[in-house]
Amino acid sequence: MSRDNACRRVERFPLIAGMESQQVTTSMALATHFIRRELRNRYLGSLSGGLWALLQPLAQLAIYGFVWAYVFKMRLPGGDASPAAVVPFLALGVWPWNAFAESISRSATVIQENAGLIGKVALPRSVLVIATTSSSFLLHGVGFCAILTVLSLLGMPIALIKLPLALLAFAMLYVLALGFAFLFAAVQVFVRDLSQVLAQIMPLWMFVSPVLYSREFLPQAYRGWLDFNPFTFYPEFFRALLLGLGTVEPFVIFRTLMIAVAACALGYAVFQRLDSRFEDFL
């Protein structure tokens, strides 16, 4: 980006033809290493290991299912009126949201937390953000597939055949999350209040997104507001695709893709601009 021309990063790799591809390979190897490390770190020392990744959202789903279906007596609009039908509906909101929210809040502090590493070892810092976001999405992506398969086996009307398409949308969500992750990770280095603010904002964000409800539950006048929320598309798309609830216009898919790519590019641009000054402010 428009970094001061006089300041140039050290060439850490041989200045031979194909240098860039070598840098990319190195970054990829590093990212893989950090993702593995991140996944292991999270479950290091816990008895059941990676099982927590599945158990925690399952428990969350059970609680939401109980409260929404039996306490609040929520029924799906138009479709199946049984309380059990609420469960896959909620699952398609909860898993994508968990992946999105967790990756953003974890990434926000990743640069700050790795200050020791950054101050001593030359590494492309973006790898840290990519690894954190990727590991959240990997975990919750696997959980997403697993829970849908289980629910389908239990006889829920889930169009599993369209799961690959759903994963494509999941990848779009990943790109969007990466944009926010880059932005927040960079800003957190300078403004330490950000992670505190995020902890307050993320639950709020969840409730202004159709994670635990659908658009139809809102008064007519407010339904349009949901379109300003970049997360709205995802639960709505998954429910339309896999449960046949509602429809999503192709134009909306395209717009969402553009938003995700733009967010990622913008977040990365900010990150790149601040990158060279991280060590001064850590």
Partner: protein, 414 residues
């Protein structure tokens, strides 16, 4: 990329500078963030490194010396790419192995084996290359069963062993290492030194920071002395290290700090220059014992009155040896430009014995009563002699005979 010209230049730094921002309050951080986002770089900052120029060719070995806080580690971090320069440019080519701080890049929770994998990934090694090198690394580190224990259980010596073993296995073109070897035990230090010597013999390039002049002189042919973030001297390792040691002797002796230029310029008389044997830069001068020493002093006189110039020679620890003024010898400085006066004194057949000395120039008023300004310059007298003391006194032996075989001829050489 254009900064590296020629095949053999591995490191080139030009006008390299690093400043750290002054941020005390959270508000400053927010302001800095805003400025950076707008692409402005005018953040209030403190310079820790200024205008460093250096180049290292393939096969060279450079020792970095300087006091604590002189900017040595900052320079190394700039060279390895951990830090981004604030000004100037730096280019490094080839595979760089860096051993900067104790346990840099190690995760204390992981075992030695896992940390090797981590470091390998940081150096861009893929899984296969890493597996091939693993036995070699473990053998070199030689820390036994600790290789499978978390690094947090290691002694600092073991951390260094592991770090060095990883770097050694990488076969870097350029090895950059900070004062970490000092932590290892005697046998490991020797092993490292031996490895470095073999590495240098095989055409490797080394940049070493050490406070041990012995290690620097043993391993390096060039040296660079950093003082307060700027290059104080650079060149042949022996000359630079001797000058550095001389500086320390002077410092221990509590030598007076010269007044800053700005303050001096307001004075009635101030020194414009002090050249030793024609060298005007403020870096220690090397003089051969018995040769001649020429000191040339220029003084600015605010009111155009003729100054008295004083010259002093002291041992590096401050002991005065000899001093005189133009007025004592009944001469006066010659006019040299507007309101400027110059005088040069020559000490022939320099009687100083080899060692470090401080040369002083003083500017005093016309009456030679009030002293206005002082400049000091370090000088190292070189020579081979076994005489004792500071000064060679003129002498003559009587009632003696020559030794049948002259054991040494050093005294008669001069």
């Amino acid at each position: 990329m254009n900064a590296v010209a020629g095949d053999n230049l591995l490191v080139e730094a030009r006008d390299l500078g690093k400043s750290y921002p002054k941020v005390f309050r959270p508000r400053d951080r927010l302001r800095a963030l805003g400025k950076l986002l707008l692409g402005r770089n005018d953040i209030d900052s403190v310079a820790v490194l200024r205008d460093v120029n250096l180049s290292v060719r393939r096969g060279e070995s450079l020792g970095l010396i300087g006091e604590n806080g002189a900017g040595k580690s900052t320079l190394l971090k700039l060279l390895t790419g951990v830090l981004t320069p604030t000004s100037g440019s730096v280019a490094v080519r080839g595979r760089v192995g860096a051993l900067l701080e104790l346990g840099a890049g190690f995760n204390p929770e992981y075992s030695g084996r896992e940390n090797i994998a981590m470091s390998a990934a940081l150096y861009g090694l893929n899984g296969d290359e890493m597996r091939n090198k693993l036995p070699e690394i473990i053998a070199f580190a030689d820390i036994g069963r600790y290789i499978d224990e978390p690094v947090k259980h290691y002694s600092s010596g073991m951390v260094v062993r592991l770090g060095f073993a990883i770097v050694a296995a990488l076969k870097p073109d350029l090895l950059i290492t900070d004062e970490v070897l000092a932590v290892g035990d005697e046998s490991f230090q020797k092993k490292c030194i031996r490895w470095m010597e073999e590495f240098l013999d095989a055409g490797g390039t080394l940049i070493l920071v050490s406070h041990s002049m012995y290690h620097i002189q043993k391993l390096c042919r060039q040296a660079l002395w950093l003082r307060e973030g700027a290059v104080a001297a650079a060149g042949d390792v022996f000359e630079v290290t001797q000058a550095y040691l001389a500086y320390h002797e002077r410092k221990l002796a509590g030598a007076v700090q010269p007044i800053s230029l700005a303050a001096a310029q307001g004075l009635e008389f101030h020194l414009l220059g002090f050249a030793v044997n024609g060298i005007a830069q403020e870096m220690p001068v090397f003089v051969d014992a018995g040769s001649s020493l020429r000191l040339r002093v220029r003084v600015h006189s605010r009111d155009g009155r003729v100054p008295v110039i004083g010259i002093g020679i002291a041992r590096a620890d401050g002991t005065p040896l000899y001093g005189l003024t133009t007025e004592i010898d009944g001469v006066q400085p010659r006019e040299d430009g507007e309101k400027a006066y110059v005088a040069e004194i020559e000490f022939q057949n320099l009687a100083l014995l080899p060692g470090a000395y401080t040369l002083k120039a003083h500017a005093a008023d016309t009456e030679g009563v009030r002293l206005f300004d002082t400049l000091e310059r370090g000088a190292v007298v070189r020579g081979k002699t076994r005489e004792f003391g500071l000064i060679r006194l003129q002498h003559l032996w009587r009632d003696v005979e020559s030794l049948p075989v002259p054991i040494r001829s050093s005294a008669s050489e001069r």
